[in-house]
Symmetry: C2
Subunit: 127 residues, 2 copies
């Protein structure tokens, strides 16, 4: 099923929050508005992490050591499935020195308090 | 929504086909019964690959160089979303010499010709 323009716009706002607040400003508390409270992430090189508090700890540590200065998230494919949205996306990470690292991901989106958020998030690098 | 026992059993048969035919017997043609015709895979270290024929080529090359002798796929979480099933899983790859490598994955399942198959498949290693 096609995702409505309203939902796509809400998803876009969530992604922009990650780009501007989490990656650029290193503002970990913004993750409250990005992940659902019972979200799960499946990062490369680690076991699955469950719950937003644990996810915030993961990103706090990861962002601190990250050479990435900015990131761009793009939806490659999105479909409505029941009351969720299933998305395939691509992230370009802009590293100090002008290099770009490409990461692809799958996100299962869920509406929480009127806002579309990442409920399951898995990614891996293209290189 | 909970996944019915019938669907879970069909998913289990598909996974067993991957374990026995693809990993153990290096039988690439079995992938016809594992992936949908327009499936997508997102492997670590490569760009997204679309379509079962391209996916077969990927696995033909990957399996040939693989030290894995057998694999066990386990469903960690599954839910029905519309006419799809969304799954989080775990694969233990048993490598020559007795080592085990753990991989986690997300699979979006779709029914094709009465059989539940992998429609989107993304994974990454735990280590």
């Amino acid at each position: 099923m096609i995702v409505s323009e309203n939902v796509l716009a809400s998803m876009r706002r969530t992604n922009e929050l990650f780009e501007s607040e989490v990656v650029k400003n290193r503002n970990i508390s913004a993750l409250e508005n990005i992940y659902t409270s019972d979200a799960r992430i499946l990062p490369p090189g680690a076991a699955m992490i469950e719950g937003r508090d644990n996810i915030k700890n993961f990103w706090r540590q990861t962002i601190a050591g990250l050479a990435t200065q900015s990131a761009t998230l793009d939806t490659v494919h999105a479909e409505s499935l029941g009351d969720r949205v299933f998305e395939i996306g691509r992230a370009d990470l802009h590293v100090a020195g002008g290099q770009t690292v490409t990461v692809k991901y799958v996100v299962l989106w869920k509406e929480e308090n009127g806002q579309w958020k990442w409920h399951v998030d898995i990614w891996n690098p293209n290189q």
